[in-house]
Symmetry: C2
Subunit: 362 residues, 2 copies
DNA sequence: TTTTCTTGTGAGACCGGTCTCAAATGGAAA
DNA sequence: TTTCCATTTGAGACCGGTCTCACAAGAAAA
């Protein structure tokens, strides 16, 4: 823990000495600011090359106050949704010569807080966050009030008026659920990995994360439209990759009044569901219809292929990054909330409900 | 591009003034070094809290010379293989209070070089790289010679003697191919996303990336063992997600002497293949057997589920990170090359070749 | 020729920490 | 009481850049 051999790196002063000019002059040509004569510039450049000078970005950042990097905090980098969004972000960042420090919150607020603290200490110029928990946003509010621009990805926070990019969750859920109700389903479950802070019990107003709330709203809209009562009973939170959630899924699928259709909030949940449905000896779509958010690559190769809500994930990342970088450049327009449209890709995972057909013909 | 409002942050001096002690003393308690009396410590801490002091990690890094972060350069963060490995790395890093700056090379050497340059300028304490190209490693050699520890993930470089963690690629390929040969296959293709620098033509010695070379060696071993001649004809490079590679796949699958079995080098290639095989109206496993490296989550839900080589991907990331961090702490044992074992998970994507059965019964 | 302006350069402060060194304090030993 | 040593504290250099300011020299204007 003691000796980092401390490579004696080449500094501006070294170059200056070699080029026989002052440190200030060398710094000017090396840093690309101020005015220098052609001859001196050439001399300095030559000296720099000879010495193999590499600027110390840290030192530079310290004086300028800008680190040239932005922090990105996502829930779970393993979720292909986030990987893709992150690529959108980094592609944009690269174009502006900004680099990205990535942190994983594992959807834990504490980890999120910690990640943000570390990123701030590293003096990131801006922050893109996918808030893990809707209840605790004090740390985000604090950032928003500070000089460091903050942008929200995929999940809006009503109480936090900052640049935000989401998709038309409510509408997407509505349309997806409608496909289900129109196929005659009346027992429809909505499964999300999100955890509820507090208790649900029908008060969707208590759900603070826009993504979750909007989707539930859309889901309930469609259910109501179809005359399905107490649809909110079938909303399941916390359906992650954990053991408990698997057990819960099993329980749900094996109960006598199990749903005949499920809407999954992301492809990870959907995959778990897909496996569990099989394990329970059920068949998609005959015994169980399934629609999921996110057109993950595998959804088209299963048997049957899954009907999905295709979100513009890459564009989502691209847009927040653009918004944030614009802000970094000094733009001070009021915060923008961009909502990107989604499409539904109908595949083979939704079936007509038999008794509806029976009823219809009876 | 001009005015970053420059939040006037609280510094040690501010805290010192408030606590009525010298800057040095305040720094001691805030930085957690040296000796300070209980009373003074309490006073400083209180002042710090009152002022809401946050250390500037950049300034700290500048004097100490250690930035507390490591750089990770992977080929494609969207590939679940890398996402998982990266999680392994960051989990370990977090435990040591080190954070990770992630960069994507897109498997392009130039991007890789650039990413490394940026990361070095940011004074990362160490570097983990998945070398994109085997031919151009001058930039890596340079790092290896410098004071900054370098570790290689998944791909070894024979000419670069640094800490490296890979899997038993040769053996894995051998065993996988054997499954195929034992099922009677004689026309077996090996498809990798890797691009060859130069030309292949049977000289596997010219392939510098260990992963690719070892796998090919294992593949050829098994073919030879089964008496298959000129097996190297069926090695296909550059099978990425691109249009050209799809076209190539189509060509291969529709040719009259198409292979009856394929070994895919990663799950992204395998998924492309899976889709293409379907598009060509072929069926797995009757018309085409398929085995792939990496037990990606979707491989178990397809029809049929895919036989895979299960690599300990998370452990791969975990191990390199551990190696690198040990090195950061001053360990100077000679470089280690760790090879992790793989398992084969046999599912339903391999079929017996009919004419072999015929022969056997004849 | 003298004055004024422009341009190039150097000296040195500064960013926010760490860390060395010397001085001050106080208790124990002589 | 005097001497010595350990502990605590302060002053200030330093890390590697940026940037302000003053000054010198040459060009243009008077």
């Amino acid at each position: 823990m003691k000796r980092p051999p401390k490579a004696p790196s080449i500094t501006v002063s070294d170059v200056a000495r070699q080029a026989k000019v002052s440190k200030a002059t060398a710094a000017r040509v090396l840093g690309g600011y101020g005015r220098v004569s052609k001859t001196v510039r050439a001399a300095v450049l030559e000296a720099a090359k000879a010495l193999d000078y590499r600027p110390n970005e840290l030192a530079r950042s310290m004086t300028t106050g800008r680190s040239g990097s932005i922090g990105v905090v996502v829930g779970d980098i393993e979720n292909p949704f986030f990987s893709l969004a992150v690529r959108g972000i980094s592609d944009v960042a690269r174009l502006s010569g900004i680099n990205v420090i990535l942190a994983n919150s594992g959807e834990q607020v504490e980890a999120e807080k910690n990640a943000i603290r570390v990123l701030m200490a590293k003096q990131v110029d801006g922050l893109i966050v996918t808030p893990a928990q809707s209840g605790e946003i004090a740390h985000l509010v604090e950032i928003a009030c500070s000089a460091c621009p903050l942008a929200l990805l995929d999940r809006a926070l009503p109480d936090l008026d900052v640049d935000t990019v989401t998709v038309d969750d409510r509408d997407a859920a509505l349309r997806a659920t409608r496909i289900l109700t129109r196929a005659g389903h009346t027992r429809i479950a909505y499964m999300t990995a999100a955890v509820l802070s507090g208790d649900f019990r029908g008060g969707e107003s208590r759900i603070n994360t826009s993504t979750v709330r909007e989707r539930i709203l859309g889901f309930l809209d469609a259910c109501q439209e179809a005359g399905i009562e107490r649809a909110e009973r079938n909303i399941r939170f916390g359906s992650g990759r954990s053991e408990t959630s698997r057990a819960a899924m099993h329980g749900l699928l094996q109960s006598p009044d199990r749903p005949t259709a499920i809407l999954a909030s992301d492809s990870v949940v959907a995959l778990e569901l897909f496996k569990t449905i099989r394990e329970c000896g059920l068949h998609i779509p005959q015994d169980m219809s399934l629609i999921t958010f996110h057109d993950a690559d595998w959804t088209s190769v299963t048997t049957p292929p899954i009907t999905v809500i295709d979100q513009p994930v890459y564009a989502l990342g691209k847009s927040v990054a653009e918004l944030l970088i614009r802000r970094l450049k000094g733009d001070d327009r009021p915060p923008e909330r961009i909502i990107l449209p989604t499409t539904i890709i109908e595949r083979m995972s939704v079936a007509q409900v038999p008794d509806v057909i029976t009823q219809a013909t009876a």
